[in-house]
Symmetry: C2
Subunit: 553 residues, 2 copies
């Protein structure tokens, strides 16, 4: 007797947090598609039913209950299909853990159920709960191991498949436990936020896991943006030796079909700049799209940051949904104006100009009785930025479009930005992109689509300036960006000690300046809009510094 | 042979996060004081050496190393004193936990050491790590139990004392383990953030623990503000039956001396309003003081919220460090102006007025070509608020004072506030105080100090209004505040399901409106300044909702 040939489908889905009915519909559509392509099993990503991360929604009993109801409805909808479906969903904890007297013990499990023939035929709960970087899973979940749930191994077309959830597969025990329970193949469901280097790292770690237990491994992943994180897709399959047998593209929904040895179509991983561009475009498209904003509004300065954000926004939303506003002051150079207008024309977006001279004068007049003859200082620079922020927000309020802010990571780190000024807006597209990478991305984008230069070269080549006083240059106030960004990476992203930086040859004055600026700018960052995380440490959920803090290394 | 009489000192200290040398000096001073008062043991609070919570500073190896160096210096400084001292400090993890492949496994232990005669004679690490509400201890620490550290029991004047750290004493195992290791008395070191009801709850839980093991229990607690949390002090001691034997006052540094049965001086717990007032005053004083701001700046409106914040600020900082600014528009009623001036005079703070009519007209003119004849709406209301925010921030920039914002919890919940407008500022004093409590606090404050009415009665009795358009009243847009606040408590603070609220008799239209407003205002709150937490659930570290979220119960 020969077994039927095994055919498995990994659903790389873009779900929305909290949209239970919409996500269930997406899973059901993928199941129908998988059946049409001859698959016997559909594997959907981690928490595919509710989206990831649902954060404190998981503390609401009504949320977990609603997931249970939606799961029952989905099981009924799938009943007639000749396919088994793995669905990621929070599961209620059947009984409280012993001993805890705390008011807020976790209420649920990060679970997955296997649906077949209209009912649940197996369930599993994540055993390893990440509680670092952007992850807070110990806040929400009890480990399946602590809750006493066994590994889940189920049979499809005569092959026994063991289920794991994301972090499980970065440890040894869950895979070994699944193998001990009879698994001949591992199916891992995931929500693994993108950062530079993550796709390759993820595949390498999973290869180690596959080799460690000597089993093929399927990796089903989310795609799409959720607030500050983006999921890149690139679902894949490995054979028992850890060798790549199939990979879905990044940044789009896909159904990846593989056989029992993990073989299928193999998409290439694109170069770094293309990965980051995909992250930014996906982040913008989904932040606006999932919340229903009609479009985006960007204040152009004639500089490279706003130029880059405009290019991202147009790639994400289309030129008809993006609007640019230039708000020149007496300190705005003519070429800034010319370049901003040129850029808007190249991209075909609506472009308006509002001079701020009169408003700036009005504020100076209103404040002069209280300023008591004091000299101009950064107060007046901030005033200009805040007038611009107020104008953009008025346009946003009147027309409903979201203001995209244009500050980069180097500025966010050093506080080289104005609260309620250029920081005013709903989404900070490049807040995790260091200035040196801003330059790389601008040049990279200009080389795409046959080298049609969307960002005028002069914008890329001019020395950066905030243009808030005469002849101002960023590098008058900050170390050269290549130095600043290198210190930022070592000190902020990698927690390197100051002594280590000095040993690596950085100028002590530069190290002192950058680390001091990072420290004193915490209050600004705390009020910054969220933005897209593209490094393994962004100024978001993965950066939780006290504002009140006297520690200096 | 008779044993020397046991005398123990609990140091209720106000330490500063990251100020290792300053905190060590404070501990040493308390030790000298304790010796002078005949104590043989000084017990300092949880993480007394580095302050609590140090948050992501704990991910820096250089921070834990600096704590170790400061601890050695402190041991040397204490060497000549005839007293043992318990110091709370992070401890480095001697070896990584097995199995983990994660990049960011916790690097330390939430520890305590016993110093005597110039050296460490015992160490302990917290076994129960809270990871709920504002706590993220699983992000930073490995449990002492998992790290294989034994309970710490040490002898002082012939009595064996078992050490516990905060959450440990809310569970059974750590106290039982200490007793099994010979403890005759429990000393618990704590950092337990204040919220309404917490002091009484804490004492009740500790009484249950004391009774459970049949041992006296000493509770040494922090006092003071750290960003959004305030520690209330009120250190205490219980006998083996859980009966209160001693209690330090709330909101001030104290050395509480007790005997071996937990007997000493007993301060009363003040009434609820006094506790909250103490929390607000402490929060403001420490946020400004610990970061070195010269004073505070408040925009007065003539309404009760800004009046209350002004009174808190004056109580916290003194009238000479507080400055009030009234910024009337065409919609400001005469009595608002009169009352604001009256209030400033009663409190003796500097008061200025800046009319915003001209600036408002300037923005309307600048925007009119782009507004294309559209009718006035909330855009114009927000403009007024943002002009005021910009003026206050200009004064802050020019003079260095911190802007205190005046929005209450009911407004933060419903989004009845303007980003970059009335939300502009460094510290949101009453962001966790619901409007109904704002009224109670105002009346309570007027009754203190012999009933000297600092907040004019008319400010308390007028119907609340934002005064951003003619004849505007809050209750035109929102349910009556007693209803709004009750829904807020059940739905937001207690995660009650909507069905439950309806069963409790709330008007469905009110429930729908409030829950919808809470949901759609998430983006505003994410950019709000931090402020003082006074309930068990504030819009701070204990409220982590996604902005992109389609879930509605």
């Amino acid at each position: 007797m020969s077994l039927p040939k095994l055919r498995l489908a990994l659903a790389q889905l873009n779900v929305t947090v909290g949209d239970l009915a919409g996500n269930a519909a997406r899973i059901a559509a993928a199941a129908r598609d998988a059946v049409a392509q001859g698959a016997q099993l559909l594997v959907t990503p981690e928490l595919s039913l509710c989206g990831y991360p649902p954060e404190d929604l998981l503390l609401r009993p009504a949320f977990i209950e609603a997931c249970q109801q939606q799961l029952a409805a989905l099981a009924a909808e799938l009943a007639a299909l000749p396919i088994a479906v793995v669905v990621g969903t929070p599961l209620p904890l059947e009984q409280a853990l012993p001993q805890s007297r705390s008011q807020q013990a976790p209420r649920g499990l990060n679970g997955a159920v296997l649906l077949q023939g209209g009912r649940e035929i197996g369930r599993y709960a994540k055993r390893e709960l990440p509680n670092y970087q952007v992850f807070d899973e110990r806040r929400y979940f009890v480990s399946g191991r602590e809750a006493g749930l066994a590994p889940l191994v189920f049979e499809i077309a005569g092959r026994r498949i063991g289920l794991l959830i994301c972090e499980d597969a970065w440890f040894e025990e869950p895979a070994q436990a699944a193998k001990a329970a009879g698994a001949e193949l591992l199916a891992v469901i995931n929500a693994s936020p993108f950062h530079i280097g993550k796709p390759a790292e993820r595949e390498a770690r999973m290869a180690a896991t596959a080799r460690g237990v000597g089993l093929p491994l399927l990796y089903a992943h989310l795609v799409g943006g959720q607030d500050e994180v983006v999921f890149d897709g690139a679902s894949f399959a490995l054979d028992a030796g850890g060798r790549l047998g199939a990979r879905a593209p990044m940044w789009s929904e896909q159904l990846l079909l593989v056989d029992g040895e993990g073989r299928g179509a193999v998409a290439a991983l694109p170069e770094m700049e293309a990965q980051v561009w995909g992250a930014l475009v996906t982040g913008v498209r989904d932040y606006l799209g999932k919340s229903g904003f009609p479009g985006a509004l960007i204040g152009l300065s004639g500089g490279i940051d706003s130029a880059l954000v405009l290019a991202v926004a147009v790639d994400a939303l289309g030129a008809d949904k993006v609007r640019a506003v230039m708000m020149p002051s007496p300190y705005t150079a003519d070429i800034s104006w010319i370049d901003a207008r040129d850029m808007a024309e190249r991209l075909g977006v609506r472009y308006d100009e509002i001079r701020i001279d009169g408003l700036f004068g009005g504020f100076n007049t209103a404040l002069s009785p209280l300023f008591e003859g004091r000299a101009a200082d950064t107060t007046e620079e901030n005033l200009q930025a805040r007038i611009r922020g107020t104008l953009l927000m008025a346009l946003s309020n009147k027309f409903g479009s979201l203001v995209l802010t244009t500050g980069n990571k180097s500025e966010m780190a050093t506080g080289y930005c104005t609260l309620y000024g250029d920081m005013a807006g709903g989404f900070a597209v490049i807040k995790d992109v260091a200035k040196t990478l801003v330059f790389r991305l601008a040049r990279w984008r200009n080389q795409q689509h046959g080298g049609r230069e969307v960002i005028p070269l002069r914008i890329i080549e001019r020395p950066p300036s905030a243009e808030l006083r005469p002849d101002q240059k960023d590098e008058d106030s900050l170390p050269p960006y290549p130095v600043l960004d290198a210190i930022l990476q070592r000190y902020m992203e990698e927690d390197a000690p100051v002594e280590q930086l000095l040993a690596e040859g950085f100028d002590p004055a530069h190290v002192d300046k950058v680390t001091r600026l990072i420290k004193i700018s915490e209050y600004k960052r705390r009020q910054a809009p969220i933005g897209i995380r593209i490094t393994h440490r962004s100024f978001g959920r993965d950066w939780r510094y006290p504002i009140t803090n006297r520690f200096r290394a």
